[in-house]
Protein backbone atom coordinates (compact mmCIF):
# COMPACT_ATOMS: atom_id res chain seq x y z
CA UNK A 1 0.00 0.00 0.00
CA UNK A 2 1.30 3.44 -0.77
CA UNK A 3 2.43 5.58 2.09
CA UNK A 4 -0.28 8.12 1.91
CA UNK A 5 -1.02 9.61 5.21
CA UNK A 6 1.47 12.39 5.64
CA UNK A 7 1.18 14.11 2.29
CA UNK A 8 -2.56 13.47 2.30
CA UNK A 9 -3.28 15.27 5.54
CA UNK A 10 -3.82 18.73 4.12
CA UNK A 11 -5.66 17.45 1.07
CA UNK A 12 -8.01 15.29 3.11
CA UNK A 13 -8.93 18.18 5.36
CA UNK A 14 -9.71 20.34 2.36
CA UNK A 15 -11.70 17.59 0.67
CA UNK A 16 -13.65 16.95 3.84
CA UNK A 17 -14.59 20.59 3.91
CA UNK A 18 -16.09 20.24 0.44
CA UNK A 19 -13.17 21.22 -1.77
CA UNK A 20 -13.66 19.23 -4.97
CA UNK A 21 -10.22 20.02 -6.33
CA UNK A 22 -8.71 18.47 -3.23
CA UNK A 23 -10.89 15.41 -3.63
CA UNK A 24 -9.77 15.19 -7.23
CA UNK A 25 -6.18 15.10 -5.99
CA UNK A 26 -7.04 12.18 -3.72
CA UNK A 27 -8.74 10.34 -6.59
CA UNK A 28 -5.79 10.89 -8.86
CA UNK A 29 -3.31 9.91 -6.21
CA UNK A 30 -4.94 6.61 -5.27
CA UNK A 31 -6.91 5.35 -8.27
CA UNK A 32 -4.18 3.05 -9.59
CA UNK A 33 -3.67 1.41 -6.21
CA UNK A 34 -7.38 0.87 -5.79
CA UNK A 35 -7.62 -0.59 -9.29
CA UNK A 36 -4.78 -3.04 -8.64
CA UNK A 37 -6.37 -4.23 -5.42
CA UNK A 38 -9.84 -4.51 -6.95
CA UNK A 39 -8.51 -6.37 -9.97
CA UNK A 40 -6.76 -8.95 -7.83
CA UNK A 41 -9.87 -9.59 -5.78
CA UNK A 42 -12.36 -9.64 -8.65
CA UNK A 43 -10.03 -10.91 -11.41
CA UNK A 44 -12.02 -8.90 -13.88
CA UNK A 45 -11.04 -5.64 -15.47
CA UNK A 46 -14.55 -4.29 -15.89
CA UNK A 47 -15.47 -5.18 -12.32
CA UNK A 48 -12.27 -3.59 -11.06
CA UNK A 49 -12.99 -0.37 -12.95
CA UNK A 50 -16.50 -0.26 -11.53
CA UNK A 51 -15.11 -0.88 -8.05
CA UNK A 52 -12.72 2.05 -8.42
CA UNK A 53 -15.54 4.41 -9.29
CA UNK A 54 -17.82 3.11 -6.59
CA UNK A 55 -15.05 3.29 -3.99
CA UNK A 56 -14.41 6.96 -4.60
CA UNK A 57 -18.10 7.79 -4.69
CA UNK A 58 -18.58 6.09 -1.35
CA UNK A 59 -15.44 7.77 -0.04
CA UNK A 60 -16.74 11.15 -1.15
CA UNK A 61 -20.00 10.64 0.68
CA UNK A 62 -18.29 9.19 3.73
CA UNK A 63 -15.41 11.62 3.99
CA UNK A 64 -17.19 13.71 6.62
CA UNK A 65 -17.31 10.63 8.81
CA UNK A 66 -13.65 9.78 8.27
CA UNK A 67 -12.06 10.51 11.63
CA UNK A 68 -8.47 9.89 10.78
CA UNK A 69 -8.05 7.24 13.49
CA UNK A 70 -7.22 4.55 11.00
CA UNK A 71 -5.27 6.44 8.38
CA UNK A 72 -6.72 7.39 5.04
CA UNK A 73 -5.17 4.45 3.19
CA UNK A 74 -6.68 1.85 5.48
CA UNK A 75 -10.03 3.57 5.29
CA UNK A 76 -10.00 3.76 1.50
CA UNK A 77 -8.88 0.14 1.19
CA UNK A 78 -11.67 -0.95 3.48
CA UNK A 79 -14.18 0.66 1.15
CA UNK A 80 -12.49 -0.85 -1.92
CA UNK A 81 -12.40 -4.32 -0.37
CA UNK A 82 -16.07 -4.13 0.56
CA UNK A 83 -17.04 -3.01 -2.95
CA UNK A 84 -14.94 -5.80 -4.48
CA UNK A 85 -16.37 -8.48 -2.21
CA UNK A 86 -19.90 -7.27 -2.95
CA UNK A 87 -19.21 -7.78 -6.61
CA UNK A 88 -17.68 -11.20 -6.24
CA UNK A 89 -20.52 -12.37 -4.01
CA UNK A 90 -23.15 -11.02 -6.36
CA UNK A 91 -21.95 -13.44 -9.02
CA UNK A 92 -23.44 -16.90 -8.94
CA UNK A 93 -21.36 -18.85 -6.42
CA UNK A 94 -20.34 -21.57 -8.87
CA UNK A 95 -19.31 -19.07 -11.47
CA UNK A 96 -17.30 -17.02 -9.03
CA UNK A 97 -14.21 -16.86 -11.18
CA UNK A 98 -15.17 -19.28 -13.91
CA UNK A 99 -16.14 -16.94 -16.69
CA UNK A 100 -13.27 -14.72 -15.85
CA UNK A 101 -10.44 -17.14 -16.02
CA UNK A 102 -10.67 -17.45 -19.77
CA UNK A 103 -9.81 -13.82 -20.10
CA UNK A 104 -7.02 -14.13 -17.60
CA UNK A 105 -5.59 -17.31 -19.05
CA UNK A 106 -5.58 -16.07 -22.59
CA UNK A 107 -4.27 -12.63 -21.74
CA UNK A 108 -1.76 -11.58 -24.38
CA UNK A 109 0.97 -11.45 -21.81
CA UNK A 110 2.74 -14.66 -22.62
CA UNK A 111 5.41 -15.83 -25.00
CA UNK A 112 5.67 -12.99 -27.50
CA UNK A 113 5.62 -10.15 -25.06
CA UNK A 114 8.09 -11.60 -22.62
CA UNK A 115 10.52 -12.73 -25.30
CA UNK A 116 10.86 -9.10 -26.36
CA UNK A 117 12.52 -8.39 -23.05
CA UNK A 118 15.27 -10.84 -23.84
CA UNK A 119 13.98 -13.94 -22.05
CA UNK A 120 14.12 -17.20 -23.93
CA UNK A 121 10.84 -18.45 -25.42
CA UNK A 122 11.01 -21.46 -23.08
CA UNK A 123 11.28 -19.25 -20.02
CA UNK A 124 8.43 -17.11 -21.30
CA UNK A 125 6.24 -20.15 -21.86
CA UNK A 126 7.05 -21.46 -18.43
CA UNK A 127 6.20 -18.10 -16.91
CA UNK A 128 2.87 -18.00 -18.65
CA UNK A 129 2.10 -21.55 -17.54
CA UNK A 130 2.93 -20.65 -13.93
CA UNK A 131 0.75 -17.57 -14.20
CA UNK A 132 -2.14 -19.66 -15.47
CA UNK A 133 -1.75 -22.14 -12.64
CA UNK A 134 -1.46 -19.45 -10.00
CA UNK A 135 -4.65 -17.83 -11.28
CA UNK A 136 -6.50 -21.11 -11.08
CA UNK A 137 -5.07 -21.82 -7.62
CA UNK A 138 -6.30 -18.46 -6.39
CA UNK A 139 -9.78 -19.32 -7.59
CA UNK A 140 -9.88 -22.14 -5.06
CA UNK A 141 -9.88 -19.61 -2.23
CA UNK A 142 -13.03 -18.17 -0.72
CA UNK A 143 -13.42 -14.43 -1.34
CA UNK A 144 -12.37 -13.68 2.23
CA UNK A 145 -9.31 -15.96 2.15
CA UNK A 146 -8.35 -14.56 -1.18
CA UNK A 147 -8.67 -10.96 -0.03
CA UNK A 148 -6.73 -11.55 3.18
CA UNK A 149 -4.01 -13.27 1.17
CA UNK A 150 -3.84 -10.51 -1.45
CA UNK A 151 -3.58 -7.82 1.19
CA UNK A 152 -0.75 -9.72 2.88
CA UNK A 153 1.12 -10.90 -0.18
CA UNK A 154 0.73 -8.12 -2.74
CA UNK A 155 -0.06 -5.10 -0.63
CA UNK A 156 2.38 -5.98 2.12
CA UNK A 157 -0.07 -5.18 4.90
CA UNK A 158 0.44 -6.61 8.36
CA UNK A 159 -2.05 -9.08 9.77
CA UNK A 160 -3.20 -6.37 12.13
CA UNK A 161 -3.90 -3.93 9.28
CA UNK A 162 -5.68 -6.63 7.32
CA UNK A 163 -7.88 -7.36 10.33
CA UNK A 164 -8.72 -3.66 10.51
CA UNK A 165 -9.77 -3.68 6.86
CA UNK A 166 -11.72 -6.94 6.92
CA UNK A 167 -13.13 -6.41 10.38
CA UNK A 168 -11.76 -9.73 11.59
CA UNK A 169 -9.92 -10.67 14.77
CA UNK A 170 -6.20 -11.27 14.59
CA UNK A 171 -6.52 -15.06 14.85
CA UNK A 172 -9.31 -15.28 12.30
CA UNK A 173 -7.28 -13.15 9.90
CA UNK A 174 -4.26 -15.39 10.30
CA UNK A 175 -6.33 -18.50 9.72
CA UNK A 176 -7.89 -17.09 6.55
CA UNK A 177 -4.38 -16.57 5.23
CA UNK A 178 -3.18 -20.01 6.37
CA UNK A 179 -6.18 -21.75 4.81
CA UNK A 180 -5.75 -19.81 1.59
CA UNK A 181 -2.10 -20.67 1.28
CA UNK A 182 -2.75 -24.34 2.06
CA UNK A 183 -5.29 -24.50 -0.77
CA UNK A 184 -2.89 -22.86 -3.16
CA UNK A 185 -0.09 -25.20 -2.27
CA UNK A 186 -2.31 -28.17 -3.02
CA UNK A 187 -3.01 -26.86 -6.52
CA UNK A 188 0.46 -25.59 -7.24
CA UNK A 189 2.55 -28.41 -5.79
CA UNK A 190 2.28 -30.68 -8.85
CA UNK A 191 3.17 -27.78 -11.12
CA UNK A 192 6.07 -26.47 -9.14
CA UNK A 193 7.60 -29.80 -8.23
CA UNK A 194 7.42 -31.86 -5.06
CA UNK A 195 4.31 -32.14 -2.96
CA UNK A 196 4.28 -30.07 0.20
Amino acid sequence: MVQMDESDAITISLARDGDDEAFRTLVERHSRDVFRLAYRITVDQQDAEDVVQETFLRAYRGLKRFQGHSGFGTWLYRIAVNCSLDRVRRRRPDSAYDEKHVELDSAPDSATQVSCTGESPEAALLASEVRRQVASALRELSPLERTAFILRHFEGLSIEQIGAILGTECNATKHSIFRGIRKMRRVLAPVLGRTP
Partner: protein
Protein backbone atom coordinates in the same frame (compact mmCIF):
# COMPACT_ATOMS: atom_id res chain seq x y z
CA UNK B 1 12.68 -32.43 18.16
CA UNK B 2 9.37 -30.70 17.33
CA UNK B 3 9.37 -29.52 13.72
CA UNK B 4 8.23 -26.11 12.66
CA UNK B 5 4.58 -25.82 11.69
CA UNK B 6 3.40 -24.53 8.33
CA UNK B 7 1.85 -21.58 10.19
CA UNK B 8 5.19 -20.64 11.69
CA UNK B 9 6.87 -20.86 8.31
CA UNK B 10 4.22 -18.65 6.70
CA UNK B 11 4.53 -16.03 9.42
CA UNK B 12 8.29 -16.21 9.05
CA UNK B 13 8.05 -15.72 5.28
CA UNK B 14 5.99 -12.55 5.75
CA UNK B 15 8.11 -11.24 8.60
CA UNK B 16 5.19 -11.45 11.03
CA UNK B 17 7.08 -13.12 13.89
CA UNK B 18 8.25 -11.09 16.83
CA UNK B 19 11.59 -12.81 16.45
CA UNK B 20 13.07 -14.95 13.69
CA UNK B 21 15.65 -16.46 15.99
CA UNK B 22 13.76 -19.64 16.88
CA UNK B 23 13.10 -20.43 13.21
CA UNK B 24 16.61 -19.74 12.07
CA UNK B 25 18.27 -21.75 14.81
CA UNK B 26 15.91 -24.63 14.00
CA UNK B 27 16.82 -24.39 10.32
CA UNK B 28 20.48 -24.66 11.27
CA UNK B 29 19.89 -28.16 12.69
CA UNK B 30 16.99 -29.42 10.58
CA UNK B 31 17.30 -30.09 6.85
CA UNK B 32 13.70 -31.32 6.68
CA UNK B 33 12.24 -27.99 7.87
CA UNK B 34 14.65 -26.14 5.60
CA UNK B 35 13.28 -28.13 2.67
CA UNK B 36 9.68 -27.48 3.77
CA UNK B 37 10.41 -23.81 3.85
CA UNK B 38 12.08 -23.87 0.45
CA UNK B 39 8.92 -25.35 -1.05
CA UNK B 40 6.67 -22.88 0.68
CA UNK B 41 8.88 -20.10 -0.59
CA UNK B 42 8.68 -21.44 -4.11
CA UNK B 43 4.89 -21.49 -4.02
CA UNK B 44 4.57 -18.02 -2.56
CA UNK B 45 7.19 -16.58 -4.90
CA UNK B 46 5.36 -18.04 -7.88
CA UNK B 47 2.29 -15.98 -7.00
CA UNK B 48 4.22 -12.93 -8.13
CA UNK B 49 3.85 -14.12 -11.71
CA UNK B 50 0.27 -12.95 -11.58
CA UNK B 51 -0.02 -9.70 -13.51
CA UNK B 52 -2.44 -6.82 -13.46
CA UNK B 53 -3.61 -5.28 -16.76
CA UNK B 54 -1.73 -2.22 -17.96
CA UNK B 55 -3.68 0.99 -17.48
CA UNK B 56 -3.66 3.92 -19.91
CA UNK B 57 -1.46 6.89 -19.04
CA UNK B 58 -4.49 9.11 -18.44
CA UNK B 59 -6.22 6.58 -16.20
CA UNK B 60 -6.37 8.93 -13.19
CA UNK B 61 -8.05 11.66 -15.25
CA UNK B 62 -10.59 9.18 -16.60
CA UNK B 63 -11.43 7.97 -13.12
CA UNK B 64 -11.91 11.51 -11.94
CA UNK B 65 -14.26 12.27 -14.83
CA UNK B 66 -16.39 9.24 -14.10
CA UNK B 67 -16.39 9.94 -10.37
CA UNK B 68 -17.27 13.57 -10.95
CA UNK B 69 -20.16 12.54 -13.16
CA UNK B 70 -21.43 10.39 -10.30
CA UNK B 71 -21.29 13.18 -7.73
CA UNK B 72 -24.84 14.43 -7.82
CA UNK B 73 -24.12 18.05 -7.14
CA UNK B 74 -23.15 21.05 -9.17
CA UNK B 75 -19.45 21.77 -9.37
CA UNK B 76 -18.64 24.20 -6.63
CA UNK B 77 -15.85 26.70 -6.64
CA UNK B 78 -14.07 27.44 -3.46
CA UNK B 79 -12.35 30.73 -3.11
CA UNK B 80 -9.01 31.12 -1.53
CA UNK B 81 -10.07 33.22 1.37
CA UNK B 82 -13.45 31.72 1.90
CA UNK B 83 -12.57 28.04 1.73
CA UNK B 84 -12.41 25.97 4.81
CA UNK B 85 -8.87 25.59 6.01
CA UNK B 86 -7.40 22.20 6.79
CA UNK B 87 -9.32 21.04 9.82
CA UNK B 88 -6.28 20.27 11.90
CA UNK B 89 -4.90 23.74 11.32
CA UNK B 90 -8.32 25.19 11.89
CA UNK B 91 -8.76 23.41 15.19
CA UNK B 92 -5.47 24.66 16.56
CA UNK B 93 -5.60 28.20 15.29
CA UNK B 94 -9.27 28.72 16.05
CA UNK B 95 -8.65 27.49 19.55
CA UNK B 96 -5.82 29.97 20.05
CA UNK B 97 -7.90 32.78 18.59
CA UNK B 98 -10.83 31.91 20.80
CA UNK B 99 -8.64 31.81 23.87
CA UNK B 100 -7.06 35.14 22.98
CA UNK B 101 -10.41 36.68 22.14
CA UNK B 102 -11.93 35.28 25.31
CA UNK B 103 -9.07 36.61 27.37
CA UNK B 104 -9.29 40.04 25.84
CA UNK B 105 -13.05 40.12 26.18
CA UNK B 106 -13.01 39.02 29.76
CA UNK B 107 -10.39 41.53 30.57
CA UNK B 108 -11.52 44.62 28.74
CA UNK B 109 -15.19 44.27 28.17
CA UNK B 110 -17.85 44.55 30.78
CA UNK B 111 -19.99 41.44 30.79
CA UNK B 112 -23.12 43.41 30.02
CA UNK B 113 -21.59 45.19 27.04
CA UNK B 114 -24.14 45.69 24.29
CA UNK B 115 -21.66 45.06 21.48
CA UNK B 116 -19.06 42.37 21.60
CA UNK B 117 -16.24 42.68 19.09
CA UNK B 118 -15.58 39.34 17.57
CA UNK B 119 -13.79 37.85 14.68
CA UNK B 120 -16.34 37.03 12.05
CA UNK B 121 -16.34 33.52 10.77
CA UNK B 122 -14.78 34.68 7.54
CA UNK B 123 -12.04 36.51 9.34
CA UNK B 124 -11.18 33.42 11.31
CA UNK B 125 -11.06 31.38 8.14
CA UNK B 126 -8.93 33.86 6.32
CA UNK B 127 -6.40 33.95 9.11
CA UNK B 128 -6.26 30.21 9.38
CA UNK B 129 -5.75 29.93 5.68
CA UNK B 130 -3.04 32.56 5.62
CA UNK B 131 -1.32 30.58 8.36
CA UNK B 132 -1.55 27.39 6.29
CA UNK B 133 -0.11 29.09 3.21
CA UNK B 134 2.73 30.62 5.22
CA UNK B 135 3.47 27.21 6.63
CA UNK B 136 3.58 25.76 3.13
CA UNK B 137 5.91 28.53 1.92
CA UNK B 138 8.23 27.97 4.87
CA UNK B 139 8.34 24.27 4.23
CA UNK B 140 9.18 24.88 0.57
CA UNK B 141 11.95 27.30 1.47
CA UNK B 142 13.46 24.80 3.87
CA UNK B 143 13.45 22.07 1.23
CA UNK B 144 15.04 24.32 -1.38
CA UNK B 145 17.66 25.57 1.06
CA UNK B 146 18.57 22.05 1.93
CA UNK B 147 19.32 21.35 -1.72
CA UNK B 148 21.15 24.60 -2.31
CA UNK B 149 23.33 24.07 0.73
CA UNK B 150 24.06 20.37 0.40
CA UNK B 151 27.73 19.45 0.18
CA UNK B 152 28.80 18.23 -3.22
CA UNK B 153 31.68 15.78 -3.14
CA UNK B 154 31.51 13.39 -6.04
CA UNK B 155 28.07 11.79 -6.38
CA UNK B 156 25.28 13.27 -4.27
CA UNK B 157 22.17 11.28 -3.48
CA UNK B 158 19.21 13.65 -3.38
CA UNK B 159 16.46 11.03 -3.16
CA UNK B 160 15.36 12.05 0.34
CA UNK B 161 15.10 15.70 -0.73
CA UNK B 162 13.13 14.56 -3.76
CA UNK B 163 10.73 12.60 -1.58
CA UNK B 164 10.14 15.68 0.53
CA UNK B 165 9.65 17.82 -2.57
CA UNK B 166 7.11 15.37 -3.98
CA UNK B 167 4.91 15.84 -0.90
CA UNK B 168 5.23 19.61 -1.11
CA UNK B 169 4.37 19.50 -4.79
CA UNK B 170 0.99 17.91 -4.16
CA UNK B 171 0.03 20.51 -1.55
CA UNK B 172 1.32 23.22 -3.82
CA UNK B 173 -1.02 22.16 -6.58
CA UNK B 174 -4.06 22.38 -4.34
CA UNK B 175 -3.08 25.73 -2.84
CA UNK B 176 -2.14 27.21 -6.23
CA UNK B 177 -5.45 26.21 -7.82
CA UNK B 178 -7.37 27.80 -5.00
CA UNK B 179 -5.26 30.94 -5.09
CA UNK B 180 -5.87 31.29 -8.83
CA UNK B 181 -9.59 30.63 -8.42
CA UNK B 182 -9.75 33.15 -5.60
CA UNK B 183 -8.18 35.89 -7.70
CA UNK B 184 -4.94 35.89 -5.72
CA UNK B 185 -2.88 36.32 -8.86
CA UNK B 186 0.42 37.30 -7.25
CA UNK B 187 0.36 34.33 -4.90
CA UNK B 188 -0.73 32.00 -7.69
CA UNK B 189 2.15 33.22 -9.89
CA UNK B 190 4.74 32.55 -7.24
CA UNK B 191 3.26 29.12 -6.54
CA UNK B 192 3.38 28.45 -10.27
CA UNK B 193 7.08 29.31 -10.36
CA UNK B 194 7.59 27.20 -7.28
CA UNK B 195 5.90 24.27 -8.97
CA UNK B 196 8.29 24.53 -11.91
CA UNK B 197 11.31 24.53 -9.62
CA UNK B 198 9.94 21.61 -7.62
CA UNK B 199 9.28 19.64 -10.80
CA UNK B 200 12.82 20.35 -11.95
CA UNK B 201 14.07 18.76 -8.72
CA UNK B 202 11.71 15.79 -8.88
CA UNK B 203 12.61 15.08 -12.50
CA UNK B 204 16.36 15.17 -11.87
CA UNK B 205 18.20 11.94 -11.38
CA UNK B 206 18.48 11.05 -7.68
CA UNK B 207 22.20 10.58 -7.98
CA UNK B 208 23.93 13.69 -9.16
CA UNK B 209 27.56 14.29 -10.03
CA UNK B 210 28.91 17.50 -8.54
CA UNK B 211 28.65 19.15 -11.98
CA UNK B 212 24.99 18.14 -12.31
CA UNK B 213 24.24 19.34 -8.80
CA UNK B 214 25.90 22.66 -9.54
CA UNK B 215 23.78 22.94 -12.68
CA UNK B 216 20.57 22.22 -10.81
CA UNK B 217 21.51 24.80 -8.21
CA UNK B 218 22.27 27.46 -10.73
CA UNK B 219 18.93 26.80 -12.44
CA UNK B 220 17.16 27.18 -9.12
CA UNK B 221 19.11 30.31 -8.32
CA UNK B 222 18.46 31.88 -11.70
CA UNK B 223 14.73 31.49 -11.10
CA UNK B 224 15.27 33.39 -7.84
CA UNK B 225 12.47 31.30 -6.43
CA UNK B 226 13.73 31.58 -2.87
CA UNK B 227 13.60 35.34 -3.07
CA UNK B 228 10.04 35.29 -4.40
CA UNK B 229 8.97 32.92 -1.65
CA UNK B 230 10.48 35.19 0.97
CA UNK B 231 8.73 38.25 -0.41
CA UNK B 232 5.29 36.70 -0.61
CA UNK B 233 5.64 35.03 2.72
CA UNK B 234 6.63 38.28 4.42
CA UNK B 235 3.64 40.00 2.81
CA UNK B 236 1.37 37.33 4.23
CA UNK B 237 3.02 37.62 7.62
CA UNK B 238 2.45 41.35 7.59
CA UNK B 239 -1.18 40.72 6.83
CA UNK B 240 -1.30 38.38 9.82
CA UNK B 241 0.19 41.05 12.07
CA UNK B 242 -2.21 43.70 10.81
CA UNK B 243 -5.12 41.42 11.51
CA UNK B 244 -3.83 40.73 15.00
CA UNK B 245 -3.48 44.47 15.69
CA UNK B 246 -6.96 45.05 14.35
CA UNK B 247 -8.34 42.49 16.75
CA UNK B 248 -6.46 44.08 19.62
CA UNK B 249 -7.75 47.52 18.63
CA UNK B 250 -11.33 46.34 18.47
CA UNK B 251 -11.02 44.66 21.80
CA UNK B 252 -9.58 47.60 23.71
Amino acid sequence: MTHLSEEQLILYYYGELASDELIESHFADCPSCREDYRQLQRTLDSVDYLTVPELPADYEARVWRSVQAGLDKPARRRWLFSWNPPSYVAAGVTMVLLIVAGFLLGRFWPVSAPEVPQLSRNEVRERVLVAAVIDHLDRSQRALLELLNSQANGQTDISSEQAMVRGILEDNRVIRRNAAAGGQAALADVLDDLERSLLDIVHSSSNLSSAELAELRSRLESQSILFKLRVISSQLKRRQDDAARELARRSS
